[in-house]
């Protein structure tokens, strides 16, 4: 289901069910419309190729986007790059750094040498920001200066219930739930959270929020977080990090 979030930002998504539980995780992609051009942000796992493709074309028409920016060359985020490029031949594939074929992307790409700094795609001025919640090394986050949207990939993620798939944050009756945020920062997505220094991590993110003052957070594994809900999320996140910080345990090496 396509949802328009700001004047020029669209959110598209598919969901994956969790095993043995009634909750889902989003695969969220975004499209920026800029002066007649469409920029697709990420292309998702091929598990969801057809559903995502239909949603993209609902926005762009059959000619597809003009550019596909990939936040990181990692199959859950870039798994459809080659397939989409074959579908929409005029689309340019862009990611910041790294090798396309080495990363499993069977199409030529354009990239940058650096992982932080200002960029422009299709004339849209954006910034590659610091990445305070990271998994693989080539991860990038992007701040869009036009609509004040921060695209945060693995950051600001959360699970949701099976009847909440199409909701954005301000449509959750009681707000985003602590447990669904806390569960997200575990071994499947953000494995280093077991080692977390809560004060460092929360301060670092708060510093970047003060710097950019985003009006919308656009995560890859959650729905857009809008306005005051960003503060709500950070309160839940901070509590989750404090609990994890205080509950570090060594694994049972040799005693499995």
């Amino acid at each position: 289901m396509v949802r328009q979030i700001t004047d020029s930002l669209y959110w598209i998504h598919e969901c994956t069910e969790a095993p043995d539980a009634d909750h889902h995780i989003h695969t969220s992609l975004y499209i920026i419309e800029h002066e007649g051009s469409y920029i697709l942000l990420d292309d998702g796992p091929f598990l969801h190729a057809e559903g995502l493709k239909e949603q993209v074309e609902d926005i762009t028409g059959p000619e597809g986007p003009d550019a596909n920016f990939i936040f990181k060359p990692h199959t859950p985020h870039s798994g459809n790059a080659g397939h989409f490029k074959e579908t929409w031949e005029n689309m340019e594939v862009v990611f910041p750094i790294g090798g396309a074929k080495v990363s499993g992307i069977p199409t030529p790409v354009t990239g940058f040498d650096e992982l932080v700094g200002p960029i422009s795609i299709e004339g849209r001025k954006m910034s590659l920001t610091e990445v305070p919640v990271i998994d693989v090394q080539t991860t990038t986050w992007v701040f869009d200066e036009v609509d004040n949207v921060w695209f945060t990939l693995e950051g600001f993620g959360y699970f949701h219930e099976g009847n909440q798939c199409n909701l954005v944050s301000n449509e959750y009756g009681e707000g985003l739930e602590y447990n669904y945020i806390d569960d997200y920062y575990a071994d499947d997505f953000v494995a280093w959270a077991k080692y977390v220094d809560a004060e460092r991590t929360v301060s670092r993110i708060m510093g970047l929020l003060d710097k950019y003052e985003p009006e919308v957070i656009a995560p890859a594994h959650g729905a857009p977080i809008i306005g005051d809900d960003i503060d709500h999320y950070m309160r839940q996140f901070a509590e989750s990090m404090e609990v994890k910080d205080e509950s570090f345990e060594l694994p049972p090496y040799g005693e499995y």
Binding site: A18, S103, T110, G111, D113, E130
Partner: protein, 344 residues
């Protein structure tokens, strides 16, 4: 500001140390890249029944960066290689492949695996997917039909090309995700295991899957081979090398591997460390050594290590402290005023 990894501050100091000019830095920053190419070296038998299939990625950008910084370990005029290692372990009864390298070396890796299996006259019973990154498991499908790690369109192409998957009936092994369905990580056809799971390949070669200390993507499996007392530690203990040094043990290199050389890889791979309490990581690292007698280290992105294990262990701990204190690498030479425009 212990945890502030302001990239421009890091870059200025490093640039001054290397004598590099602002103009040179800008030239490096503004270049557009298509990414490194790679090739597979001749397979090497490291210990009895343990083979290294080393893919070397050639990175011209980092070569020029190192030429400017001129660290002791870098050989001017040589290529800058970051390896992507696949290991084939042969037991008396069965064989196990740990990762598969990237799709860039598909033909070479499938040929290499086949030749070793024929020479050893053994079946490939297990294919271990350390984690769902194409650079590590990008050839899982040509090796085993059950492993869908690339888009189905490209798998169909492979059906006509790669006979190996017809010959092998190996069991895929991957870590059981705890909170999402296995297909999210492309593990839906794998036997999902958790740390502690063991496999006996025969002849004393028993491997145990263990919890990683450091990891890149998640969920990730590390492995310990009881026969060689070998640690298969995926993204950690890595370091780049120069052309001419491919396929060697770390102790066969001209220079002793330095902390700077270790930082060159690990400082980029573990950009999350500034968020962490470094002593938790070091405690877990110590806990690993308290429980496993480690005589060989087989990293995915560095030369295998058989001597000075304790020194390398110390280098990894120092790396954690250094990144925690100074920030990670990989974002250097950024100028806030600079705009790299890639309008098409």
């Amino acid at each position: 500001m212990v945890f502030d990894t302001n990239p421009s501050e890091v870059s200025e100091s490093e640039g001054e140390e290397s004598g590099e000019t602002e103009q040179q830095r800008d030239e490096i920053h503004s270049r557009r890249i298509d990414g490194p190419d790679s090739f597979l070296n001749e397979p090497t038998e490291l210990t009895e029944g343990v083979y290294l299939l080393e893919e070397c990625t050639i990175n011209p950008h980092l070569r020029e960066l190192k030429a400017a910084q001129n660290p002791q370990w870098f050989k001017r005029g040589h290529e800058f290689h970051t390896p992507i290692n696949t290991y084939l372990l042969v037991g008396e009864d069965e064989a196990l492949l740990f990762d598969t390298s990237s799709p860039n070396v598909r033909d070479a890796i499938t040929d290499g695996v086949r030749e070793i299996l024929e020479k050893e006259d053994v079946e490939l019973s297990y294919l271990v997917l350390s984690h769902d990154e194409a650079a590590h498991v990008g050839n899982a499908y040509p090796i085993s039909r059950e492993a869908a790690m690339v888009h189905p369109d490209y798998q169909e192409d492979a059906d006509d090309t790669y006979e190996l998957q017809e010959e092998l009936h190996s069991t895929l092994i991957a870590r059981k995700p705890s909170r999402v369905a296995p297909e999210f990580h492309y593990f839906d056809d794998a036997e999902l295991v958790e740390p502690g799971h063991t496999i006996d390949l025969g002849g004393g070669r028993v491997v145990e899957f263990i919890e990683p200390v450091w990891q890149d993507g998640a969920p990730t499996l590390w492995m310990y081979d009881q026969k060689d007392k070998g640690l298969y530690c995926v993204d950690s203990y890595g370091f780049p090398h120069c052309s001419g040094d491919c396929g060697k043990w770390a102790d066969e290199l001209e220079h002793r591997v330095s902390q700077d050389q270790m930082m060159e890889y690990n400082g980029r791979a573990f950009r999350y460390i500034p968020n962490c309490n470094p002593w938790k990581i070091i405690d877990q690292h110590n806990h690993l050594y308290d429980n496993y007698d480690i005589e060989h280290i087989f990293p995915a992105h560095g030369q295998p290590i058989r001597e000075e294990i304790d020194r390398y262990r110390g280098l990894m701990d120092s790396m954690v402290e250094r990144i925690s204190r100074d920030g990670s690498l990989g974002t250097e030479y950024v100028s806030a005023e600079e705009l790299t425009d890639i309008s098409f």
